[in-house]
């Protein structure tokens, strides 16, 4: 029987280990397009998280009822329903934010994070685990969009979350709020993430090697002593 990971691990893995942006490289279209400011990034991530959580719960609930042949079609209908709900609610309750995010809210339907987690996780796991997985991935997406949006807003407009951070004498780098700035920032952050992961792996391999060598030496000494 497959060993189940703990509930906390189910949530935490989405933050870094399988972070949708930096590790799974999913949802790149909204990531690149809306992160001209931190607030846009937060709003997009929250909308995506809402859809991700509810679609994962529903898909997990009905996973045994949906025939395999039409599962993707059924998942798309479920996801599209929640996206349309988000779109209508944002237009009704947060019209300014809805306008700022423009066509990217309806495009959550085709966000690979949602369909990816539905297919890879929610369709095979219990409701609670699917909820934790969706929440973890949503939080991971929120963190990456917030970091990207903050960097681009800071360098491109001199502000963070609308508050002036850099002095007025600072000349904003217009490229940072253009698509080129999104690619540059994302590429550099991914490089940094890969560098950190590789370094961490190297350190753990080195620690294991040291431990093995010490154990071998100890054994040899014991054998020699005996």
């Amino acid at each position: 029987m497959k060993k189940q990971v703990s509930y906390s691990r189910e949530y935490l893995k989405g933050l870094w280990e399988i972070n949708p942006t930096f590790k799974q490289i999913l949802g790149m279209c909204p990531t690149l397009a809306v992160t001209v400011s931190a607030i846009n990034g937060i709003a997009m991530a929250l909308a995506t998280t809402f859809v991700l959580i509810f679609s994962s719960i529903i898909i997990s609930m009905v996973r045994k009822l949906i025939p395999n042949q039409v599962r993707i079609a059924a998942y798309i209908v479920i996801v599209a329903t929640f996206v349309t709900i988000v779109d209508l609610v944002m237009k009704a309750a947060f019209p300014v934010l809805s306008k700022a995010l423009g066509p990217f809210i309806p495009l959550i339907v085709v966000n690979c994070i949602i369909l990816g987690r539905a297919e890879a996780f929610a369709s095979k796991n219990t409701i609670f685990r699917s909820f934790l997985d969706a929440l973890g991935n949503g939080t991971g997406f929120l963190i990456s969009l917030l970091v990207l949006g903050s960097i681009r807003e800071l360098l491109g407009s001199g502000t963070v979350l609308g508050y002036a951070v850099l002095p007025e004498s600072y000349d904003p780098m217009i490229i940072m709020i253009l698509p080129a700035g999104a690619f540059l920032t994302l590429g550099l952050l991914m490089g940094l993430a890969n560098f950190y992961t590789a370094r961490k792996e190297r350190i753990s391999i080195e620690a294991l090697r040291q431990k093995y060598m010490i154990e071998t030496e100890d054994k040899q000494l014991i054998e020699a002593g005996a």
């Binding site: 809306v34 059924a74 349309t84 709900i85 209508l88 019209p95 990217f104 253009l178």
Partner: protein, 170 residues
């Protein structure tokens, strides 16, 4: 159960539930969205006619056309909504013109789907202010912009002659 029937039933039930839920949400959202649009339009009427304090809608003309008055009920000009193609989709504008129908007072973007970042700068003041005080009739001069949307907007302003023909100077 027959496989084909199972598939059909699954898709049908999924569709019916999804449609039902969306209908319920739409019942809640529709009046609020309409109210938001109305409020935005009203705000824009006064944004393009700075001295305006009240307005009345002219219903004899096709489209949304408003006659704007100051505090003493003197007419200060017209505000009207116009829609046309932008770079990526429809752009809805509120345009203000002076009582003599000879000059644009200013413009306000009601809706646009331009590229986030540079494209959405059409909603910002330095861009919109380029249209303040432009002359109509003798031909609006080409306004330099950063994207083709400028050309589109220029065309929109020229197409206002359609409306002008149905208006008289105040």
């Amino acid at each position: 159960m027959n496989k084909a029937v199972h598939i059909l039933l699954t898709l049908m039930v999924t569709g019916i539930i999804a449609g039902g839920v969306l209908a319920l949400v739409n019942i809640w959202a529709e009046p609020r969205i309409a109210a938001n649009q109305k409020r935005e339009t009203e705000e824009a009427i006064y944004l393009v006619q700075k001295n305006g304090k009240s307005y009345e809608e002219i219903k004899t003309v096709k489209g949304e056309l408003f006659k704007v008055f100051d505090g003493q009920k003197n007419p200060v000009g017209y505000s009207f909504v116009y829609e046309g193609n932008g770079f990526q989709g429809k752009i809805r504008l509120m345009i203000g013109i002076e009582p003599g129908l000879d000059k644009v007072t200013s413009i306000e973007i009601l809706e646009q789907t331009e590229t986030p970042g540079l494209g959405t700068k059409v909603t910002e003041h330095p861009y919109k202010d380029q249209y303040n005080g432009l002359t109509i009739g003798t031909g609006i001069e080409w306004v330099k912009g950063k994207k083709p949307v400028s050309r589109m907007k220029y065309r929109r302003l020229q197409e206002q002659r359609y409306h002008q023909n149905q208006l008289r100077p105040l």
